[in-house]
Symmetry: C2
Subunit: 201 residues, 2 copies
DNA sequence: GGTTTATTTGAAACGCGTAATGAAAAATTC
DNA sequence: GAATTTTTCATTACGCGTTTCAAATAAACC
């Protein structure tokens, strides 16, 4: 079997090693200095390559930032789980989880920006990430809590209710973050209001 | 009265004329070519000045984009009002308005991006705009519809419910726009679900 | 009219994300 | 070992938003 002349493509191991390195450096910069500090020039210096080399491995900056989503969503989920730990009934759990979710994003604006505002609306580079099931991470807990609260509900109903709740909470967090000068009602009032229709359904 | 030597400051009329010109050109570019086409270089060429001159008149690009919000919000409101025109009962009006609101933003991603995703989270340049009461434009209609549906409710309760509804709808629109590859429930399902708790409260 | 002064405007530059294209590297072929 | 080939990497450049600071402008003063 004669192979074609030419430089061989990167091996799977090389690809993984490079992506892992980029991801770790990106997260390191992000954790130390925040969202704005994660620039391609900065990141490439840390990785030890030219900025444009990153584009040979990733479709764009958005794809790199998506590598950071998993960590952030895990942290948010840990925060929510911590807040519901001492709750004994399902309604209290849901209320505490809802409140914890929104206040997490309010108190971590860089995280919010990373996950919800860096994907350039209209560009579907996020599709592969989503199809890998990553959207559920950090959000599935609400589906579980709702199922525990309403064990007899049909799966499709649980999906609609939990996904509407998540979208609604994201909207509240967006408003708190983006239009922070507005006198929004208190977070607990808004989250309780959101939850009212979800629980009563 | 001896005035100090030196070039006189711009008059109020000059200030207004320039800002109006910038606003009109920005809107013209936006309408013709979309969000991405509204760049400072492009805009300054159209206005007939250097890009940096824009910064002597506006705090930054965000402030210019905010000038466009009013038109977009008016259009969105007209769309919603059109959809509720033939509704005869308040619950149907609310359902139709909620659905129209979310689908408007879903179907106008550039408008969504302009209003909700161009203000650079964490930077409070939007405060002056907000304090001028502009956030209410396009959103007050939900307060009115809710008041009509529930005339006996306390004002503070109407505020919480309507503002939570608006935030929730924005969240749904954000998810549809940003995470468009995810299999969200249908818009009507989600808006009905959002509305369930708002109406029942 | 020339000088001084205060304000406005714009040239030059910076780092940003990214595209186009040439140089470098690593393999096979002869 | 030189030539060819294919892939990888990096240089150069572009338009982006924005800052710094010099040039230009328009007024009062002498």
């Amino acid at each position: 079997m004669t192979k074609a002349a030419g430089r061989p493509p990167r091996s799977d191991a090389e690809i993984l090693e490079f992506r892992t390195r980029v991801s770790e450096h990106a997260m390191s910069i992000y954790r130390a200095e925040g969202f704005e500090a994660v620039s391609m020039r900065r990141l490439s210096k840390r990785v030890g390559c030219a900025p444009t080399t990153l584009y040979a491995h990733f479709a764009g900056k958005t794809e790199i930032l998506m590598l950071l989503w998993a960590d952030v969503l895990s942290e948010m989920e840990a925060h929510v789980r911590d807040k519901i730990q001492d709750k004994t009934n399902t309604a209290d759990s849901l209320a505490a989880a809802t409140y914890a979710f929104v206040t997490y994003w309010r108190d971590h604006p860089d995280d919010f920006r990373l996950v919800f505002m860096s994907s350039n609306v209209g560009k579907t580079d996020v599709d592969s990430f989503i199809k890998a099931g990553n959207v559920d991470r950090g959000f599935a807990i609400f589906k579980d809590l709702l199922r525990a609260h309403d064990p007899g509900a049909v799966d499709a109903d649980i999906d609609i209710r939990s996904e509407t709740l998540v979208a609604g909470m994201i909207g509240v967090a967006l408003c708190l973050n983006t239009i922070s000068g507005y006198a929004w009602p208190s977070v607990s009032r808004m989250t309780d209001q959101l939850l009212a229709g979800i629980i009563a359904s």
